[in-house]
Amino acid sequence: MEEDLRSTTVPDDPVQRRDLILIERSREGDLDAFNDLVSLYQDALFALVVRMVPDRDQAADAVQEAFFSAYRNLASFRGGSVKSWLNRICVNAAMDTQRARKRRPVQPYPELDDESWQPRAGDEVDPERIAVHAERSRVLAAAMAHITDDQRTAIVLYDVEGYDYSEIAEMTGVSLGTVKSRIHRGRLSLRDILSDRMELFRG
């Protein structure tokens, strides 16, 4: 029997409450309710996955595949944060895409121009600073594309998403020591790759 999420867990957080209502309606077959969730989280999840999979179209495919997977497996949602649940599904989808890319390598960010970069809400408005930030993001993304998938995934999950070592170990199916090693080696590789451009990142 389907568990009524509202009756068992009533979170104080209005965002979580809204998400749980949407999940419950989705479980009843309401695709529009699920698409409301997609609309709410697609940007954040795309931003996560595109850091792990440095190809916009493949990253979009991975996120959409993750949403399909989430919709099919709504029954496996056991409460808690919907965003965390979707995050984990997206990380799995991104790792699947990384494996597929190993067999069919493609050029990272092949077609991106200035307009393709998305400033975060509330970021600076000064045109000069915007230009510097865009250049920094582009150079950093290119460097990130040159470290290994495993290192990139671990760094993104740690630095951007804020997971701790043990959570990353559990998500990626490796030991704690391996996670630390990937992160530390990845950082050193990035510094070596960026050694000629470090002035862009200082200050």
């Binding site: 940007d43 996120v63 950093l140 993304a141 630390k180 050193l188 990035l190 990142f201």
Partner: protein
């Protein structure tokens, strides 16, 4: 006194580890190169946290047609399970089965593809002229013609298990390949 020349011997890995809460090596204070490395790693970490990402190229909302296309058949579910990022079992299992099978076959000295000339417990029939002829070694002949005097050899269980093990391992590896190809074209 700072020995700049000794920087090559300093532990870069420990300096990188300090960003994740590890102990900051003393060389960061005493060696200018280690200090610069630490500052650069911090700058890169900050940049990663605040980096912009490319714009999402399309709307990712689901359509009923898309859902129908991806309807989960049992076969599809099975193939999807193989070789996904959640699957940490099938690859070592397949490699283990294949290795065990090959080891079993090597130990029993059965050449691959020897379907019609079975030999056990010694060199292969093809490699041993003195036992190559069924007449000279009737215990090796197979009962092809069913005549009296020919003996139906019983394949030892270890050979059967080894072949089954290789076949199972190969099948799992094949399924993983199919699943990977499906994901690649999706």
């Amino acid at each position: 006194m700072v020995d700049v020349g000794s920087h090559a011997r300093h532990d870069r890995f420990a300096i990188a580890g300090a960003l994740g809460g590890g102990v900051l090596p003393s060389t960061v204070r005493t060696c200018p190169s280690c200090g610069a490395l630490h500052r650069d790693l911090l700058s890169i970490q900050t940049a990663i946290r605040h980096a912009w990402t490319p714009r999402r190229p399309r709307d990712l909302r689901l359509s009923r047609a898309g859902l129908a296309e991806r309807r989960h058949t049992l076969w599809r579910r099975l193939v999807d399970a193989f070789g996904s990022s959640r699957d940490t079992v099938t690859r070592p299992l397949a490699l283990g089965l294949t290795s065990l099978g090959i080891a079993g076959l090597v130990l029993t000295n059965v050449p691959f593809g020897a379907a019609d000339g079975v030999s056990f417990g010694g060199a292969s029939a093809a490699a041993s002229p003195e036992i190559a002829s069924p007449a000279s070694a009737p215990y090796l002949s197979t009962a092809v013609d069913g005549k009296a005097g020919s003996v139906e050899p019983a394949t030892p269980p270890i050979v059967v298990i080894s072949i089954a093990s290789v076949a199972a391992g190969g099948t799992i590896l094949g399924l993983r390949r199919v699943a990977a190809r499906r994901r690649a074209v999706r």
